[in-house]
Symmetry: C2
Subunit: 226 residues, 2 copies
Amino acid sequence: MNLSEPLVRPSLHIELLDRLRALIVDGSLLPGTKIPERELCERYGVSRTPMREALKVLAVDGLVWLEPNRGAWVSKITLEDLEEVFPVMGALEALSGELACARITDEEIAAIRTTHEDMIAHYAARDLAQYFQSNQAIHEAILSAARNSELTTMYRSLAARVRRARYLANMTDERWAKAVEEHEQILSALEKRQGDALGQILRQHLASKFETVRQWLENDDIDELS
Amino acid sequence: MNLSEPLVRPSLHIELLDRLRALIVDGSLLPGTKIPERELCERYGVSRTPMREALKVLAVDGLVWLEPNRGAWVSKITLEDLEEVFPVMGALEALSGELACARITDEEIAAIRTTHEDMIAHYAARDLAQYFQSNQAIHEAILSAARNSELTTMYRSLAARVRRARYLANMTDERWAKAVEEHEQILSALEKRQGDALGQILRQHLASKFETVRQWLENDDIDELS
DNA sequence: ATATTTAATTTTGAATTCATAATTACGTCA
DNA sequence: TGACGTAATTATGAATTCAAAATTAAATAT
């Protein structure tokens, strides 16, 4: 423990922001449901003022929908939303690949290679949860190697919204195999530091991911996740 | 006047948000200065509650910097910030070009051509303010033709931050000529609906814009705009 | 006179209060 | 019984109030 650390007390609205975001992203608060403002205030022992500040920020972030004089609702995720969000994420992820190739260290590449091999092992063991975790870690590591905090903020905000869809559980074997193969290409381009190629592969990777989501949504004959 | 329009009274914090954003973007509130919360509350006749909500949203947007227990400052724009923001804007603008080519109508292209010719006329007349306005209208029209509200929101947020730098006043003749030439290429690619090409040109266009900013900042031997 | 400590003032963060809008519950009448 | 209208309740938006932190001013000491 660092004893000379300054004593900073994070403000309530920041703390709340993180907690509420987690509640929505992990699915504790379901899309389309009303946000129980009073109940959350009681649960966290805060007044409505910081709670409402946090909700307004989350509304800008796209996780919350504010209806004037009617309260706050957890945003739904429609296919139309995803059709807009995925191309933007694709462009951002392609950029992160390009920048990462120019800036990543050999050590960082080695670490990603290790995570990649873990991921392959989870794939072989058909452990979807662990696979998903390694997968996400790889994309985060590339993003981090891009050394661009604006890019990081924007990408994370979109990724959080998409992640709520939880479509991965419905991934077919075929799709899963293709995703793993694409990841081989990602590693290969990264190790050769081929920025443009990596950008294109990442973009394509995300596009196929979106196709999975689209098919799932269309097959289930629903147009929103609630 | 549309008599069947629903009677919506916009909430104060939304109104304030727009007003404050305008104050910062148009330079009435200078980068690095403290935001006079009390004074603004009096000016707009509102209490601190909605004002503080608006400031928190603007902080997420990157226009305001909140220092815990010390208040709100207008964000400074450092060269380091711009070095991060420009590549992201470039990726988004490239995407807007690609999508626009796939979706734009002939009428929209014709309208952009008209604005383009206006812009050329302002260039010939060396009317920088009018040139700037037409220029911005063209980029907005392409963005709008991309039909992607997520993209629009993100791009506009970054554009607002960059616009505060007001580097255009310092554009050299050489740079200005190059920008006009790039715009000819933009129109050409758009009219041929060559999405990939348009994307690359827009990205390059923004990159040269950034070089102007960088040189200006470095020549003036300052590292922030205040 | 300047540096340092202490007290007064101002500002901030957050709880509380209050007016208004929205929702629900109730009562009336066909 | 069910549709409509009214009253009671609840929730929301925003002003006010209050405690704590930061800043400024004043006082003391060197």
